[in-house]
Structure formats: structure tokens, C-alpha cells
Symmetry: C2
Subunit: 135 residues, 2 copies
């Protein structure tokens, strides 16, 4: 399941991408248009800013705005920040690798074998989609 955090984050990025070039957009406006709990969205936008996707401005006329061009934001990085590892099992994760404590040998593990394919297929999609592509 995709968490609402990721869903809302993606929607917010999309919203900001469509408002590209204009003034900063306020949290309240995004929350209203996308039917998102404002407080929840607040924390999501914060993590997006901290991870280099967004810039912000305080005070009147303030808000959030995209830092980079939508075409330069691959879904891989967005998903890793919002949803976490792309792999469904740590033992097949590129960026968050961890050995399974119950599994003695990855090479003969059926779960490993299957999840490796799932990871690759997901990576393939995320790598071939930037924010601009899903607008």
C-alpha cells in the first residue's frame, strides 16, 4: 500500500509543478485543492524541502515552490524520500540493504529471487518517470 504521505506528497509536487514560475503557493491552498489535512501536508512539505525538492518563504506572500525543473526530478528520488526503500525486502535494496536474520543464504532464497525482479521492474518505472512525465 502506498501511504497517504507519499500520495499527498506526489499530489503537492504535481500542484507546485503546474504553478511553476509563479509566486510561492501556500500550504492552505494546496491542502484545499487536493483535499488534504493541512497539518499533515505541512509536515510532508517540510520533509520535501529538507530533501532539496522545495524552497520556502515565510510571511505574507510566502509559501512553497519547486527548486528544480520538473523534468529533473526522477520518481526514484521522490519515492525514496516519501515512501522509503523501493525494494519490498531489505535484502534486495540498493540504498538500504540489510541482511535478513532468518535467511541463511540469499542465493537460494525464493523470496529473494522474486523480490529482486519486482525491485527491478519498479526501478525501471520510477527511473523512466520524472515529475514532468506524470503531469
Amino acid at each position: 500500500m502506498l501511504s497517504k504521505k507519499t500520495k499527498y506528497g506526489l499530489k503537492a509536487l504535481t500542484y507546485l509543478a503546474r504553478a511553476k514560475g509563479k509566486e510561492p503557493v501556500q500550504i492552505a491552498e494546496i491542502a484545499k485543492h487536493e483535499n488534504i489535512s493541512q497539518k499533515f501536508l505541512e509536515s510532508i512539505l517540510l520533509t520535501l524541502r529538507r530533501n532539496g525538492f522545495l524552497g520556502s518563504k515565510k510571511g505574507k506572500g510566502g509559501g512553497y515552490y519547486l527548486i528544480k525543473d520538473p523534468a529533473d526530478i526522477p520518481m526514484t528520488t521522490v519515492m525514496r524520500v516519501l515512501e522509503g526503500p523501493i525494494a519490498m525486502v531489505p535484502c534486495v535494496s540498493l540504498n538500504f540493504y540489510e541482511k535478513c536474520d532468518d535467511c541463511p543464504d540469499e542465493d537460494t532464497c525464493s523470496v529473494h529471487k522474486l523480490m529482486l525482479q519486482i525491485r527491478d521492474s519498479a526501478l525501471d518505472v520510477y527511473r523512466n518517470n520524472t515529475l514532468a512525465d506524470i503531469l
Copy 2:
């Protein structure tokens, strides 16, 4: 994240597939070999039996065994029973479709667009892998 339920279920199926043609295998044996909590595994095997993957025999010499040939067990059905919908969002699910209450129009939804591709790529993998393939 893949739930432990699914992970253990897959491992159990693998174990039983390798013991194919022999006597029923006891829960305790599988649990021991795969480092799984026996009681947890018990409930997992039960749902696998109820969904037509396994047969069981009580009493001495009893246990679980595969009903079908591993080559006739596609991962799609296994994953749906153990993990639930393959889609990460209900609005792109084939078997568990549900409309998002926050999203007014699926056709213009960026999340929908992306998750549709993810679903298809995952389906592609699961459809091309039977239990026999991941042994």
C-alpha cells in the same frame, strides 16, 4: 514493505514444493528449517489451505502438502492471498478497485498515472513466475 506473513508463506510453499511427492510435512519442521515462529506459521498455512493451495492431514504422520503442481501456481494468486492487492492504490487495482475519495478525476491524477505503470510492471513479474520458477 513485504509483510512477514507473505515472506513466511512463500518460504513455506517453497519448502513444500521441494518436498513434493513425499509424505505430508509438519508445521514444526517447516518452522524450524525456515526460522519462523511456529504459531504464526500455523495461521499462515491455514489460510493457504483455505485458499486451495495446500491440503492437510491430522494426527500422527500428518502435516501439510501441496495440492497442485508448483508450475501451476502463479505468483499473482499467491501474492493476492497473502499480501492482498498487487496495486499500491485501490484506484488502479484490478481485483479490488475502489475510487479515491479525495481525487475528483482519475484521468488527470498524477498518482494514478504512476501507480498504473507500477501495477502493470509488478503484474508482469508475478504472471511470469510460478512457484516452480522461484525454486
